[in-house]
Amino acid sequence: MTGLAASGLTASGLTVALDGTDILRDVSLAAGRGEIIGVIGPNGAGKTTLLRALVGAIPHRAGAVTLDGRAIMDLPPRERARRIAYLGQEEAAQWAITSETLVGLGRLPHRPSWQGPGARDREAVLGALRACDALHFAARPVNRLSGGERTRVLLARALAVEAEFLLADEPIAGLDPAHGLQVMDVLAARAAAGLGLIVTLHDLTMAARNCHRLVLLDKGRIAASGPPADVLSARNLERHYGIAAHAGTAGGKPFLVPLARTGETEEP
């Protein structure tokens, strides 16, 4: 896919260095609208760095990130912000603003500075809060939410942008199973409506059941990519995660239960 002026959000030959060390090396991927791409890999593989580089928050040393063939750094910031939404992993609100105000931040790129929120903005905020099952604490200050509630409000903030692409870093970390499933359902529904999604996940079963394609990162490189069943092969799990897992099918979709460490990762 390298070199193609493809539509969608693409990275080609992406190399990112932080403090002089290459964190990502020669990463290429293409995300289309309506598609959920799961980015998986062990801790420190570069998943978060990949997402930050795709949204442009950190510069890349080599390669390119394009949206419908245009380099994202060439897009005006407001337009880029309307088209690519980002949900960071360690987002935390410093101020005791209400959930509704926080979700409203997602509407900032949609209006010029002199304009207050309009009916369309309010509709988007309420829609996002409802989708994330967060409507009943909309008026509560975010510093008085539980961890799970805060996670859903932050997701609602990212959904309220109503962008063409959403890059979500660990959107279900710290959620109970019901809310984890709910968030994945919300993401699936948004994808069905045309949103392109790139999601980092640690839960391999969630990744296997919900993503159309998986990208397995290890030590900053793409180790495997493709349909979940291929990427999550026993060989890959052993080589890159250092685990043996029980794989099965339930309800027509795969699941994975990690069983043991094999100690055969490619650690230096």
Binding site: R52, V55, G56, A57, P77, R78, R80, A81, R82, I84, A85, Y86, G88, E90, E91, A92, A93, Q94, W95, A96, I97, T98, E100, T101, L102, L105, G106, L108, P109, S113, L126, R130, D133, L135, H136, A138, A139, P141, L154, R157, V161, A178, H179, L181, Q182, D185, V186
Partner: protein
């Protein structure tokens, strides 16, 4: 997901009440400011009633009261509004940008370097050469300080490097100010410098107003554009970037706006601490804790508090005023203590 409970939207009455409270904040602060401004004009060694103050303002009244009101008290009150608004606005902007409720305008070193510039004019005797020599020295100090700050902090938008650079600039300017004091030719020269450093609005004229106003106006203009970026920064630098606000650009506007306004304020009034720390805190609950919405109320609140402080310094010992910086520290110190205790209680 339909199995999960769906509660109704928040009560509209509650939301309306909060909106009304916010809507009243600015008019209330405005009325308060006008009232305290009037009181400020009525206070001084010469007994002048409010009726006479009004007469002097409209061009009537005796020559003596006209001179006192128009050339002594009016510029002093106007300067109080300008300096107070600057400190309130810059304090709110810095707290918002650094996402730290303990930030204040002096943090990035502009106050210290402006003070150093002014102190040098006192030391060298240039201050006595013409009226505006001292504030011009202060502005020169602020310019050098912000230049140094930018070099130290580097490009980009990191809040941490800005704080570290600010601490470095403050330390260097403070050391040099101490050196100047150390080398002062006489105890009287040293006392003059120390008194100036304590901050005051006494004996200022319209010349000071006109000198400071252009710098402050541009600085206010820059800081006033930060409302939305500061809101976006609530969730951190990456999220602010993803919402279309490059943090490097936001930081550049913040630093320049603070340098221009706080530099000019320090140049004409000396260093006045705590105001820029306290005002955003007092007003934050009234704007539902939104950092962007806090800017304008903080400017008005800063002006109100500065005028109150400037009235307070004139009351206890007529003819021998307290210094503004002394008073704000006397009041601000305990407030700071309370702040720390309140924060500690909120932590687990």
């Amino acid at each position: 997901m339909s199995a999960l409970p769906q509660a109704p939207a928040p009560a509209p009455a509650q939301a309306r009440a909060m909106g009304a409270q916010r809507g009243l904040l600015l008019p209330a602060l405005g009325v308060l400011l006008v009232a305290i401004f009037a009181v400020s004009l009525g206070i001084g060694p010469a007994e002048i009633g409010m009726r006479e103050v009004w007469a002097a303002l409209t061009g009537a009244g005796t020559d003596a009261s006209r001179i006192i009101i128009l050339e002594v008290r009016l510029p002093r009150a106007i300067l109080g509004v300008m300096v107070g608004a600057t400190l309130g606005l810059a304090g709110a902007a810095l707290q918002g940008f650094l996402r730290n409720p303990l930030a204040e305008p002096g943090l990035i070193g502009i106050s210290a370097s402006a003070a150093l510039g002014a102190v040098l004019t006192l030391y060298t005797g240039i201050a006595a050469a013409f009226t505006l020599a001292l504030p011009l020295g202060g502005i020169a100090g602020a310019v050098i300080g912000v230049g140094l700050l930018q070099v130290l902090a580097g490009r980009g938008g990191s809040a941490l490097t800005l704080i570290l650079a600010g601490i470095a600039v403050t330390a260097m300017a403070g050391a040099l100010t101490a050196l100047v004091l150390n080398l002062a030719p006489s105890p009287f020269a040293a006392l003059e410098i120390v008194f100036w450093l304590m901050g005051s609005l006494a004996d200022r004229s319209f010349a000071h107003v006109w000198l400071a106003l252009p710098f402050m106006a541009v600085g206010w203009g820059l800081l006033a554009t930060l409302g939305r970026p500061l809101d976006a920064l609530t969730l951190g630098e990456d999220t602010a970037w993803s919402l279309g606000f490059p943090v490097g650009d936001v930081r550049a506007r913040l630093v320049l706006g603070t340098a221009l306004s706080v530099g000019a304020a320090t140049a004409v009034a000396g260093t006045i601490g705590f105001l820029g720390l306290v005002v955003p805190h007092l007003l934050r609950p009234f704007v539902a804790h939104r950092p962007g919405a806090l800017l304008l109320p903080s400017a008005l609140g800063g002006a109100v508090l500065m005028l109150l402080a400037d009235i307070a310094v004139r009351l206890p010992f007529p003819g021998n005023e307290l210094k503004l910086g002394v008073l704000t520290a006397l009041v601000g110190g305990p407030f700071f203590l309370w702040l720390i205790i309140a924060y500690r209680r909120r932590l687990p």
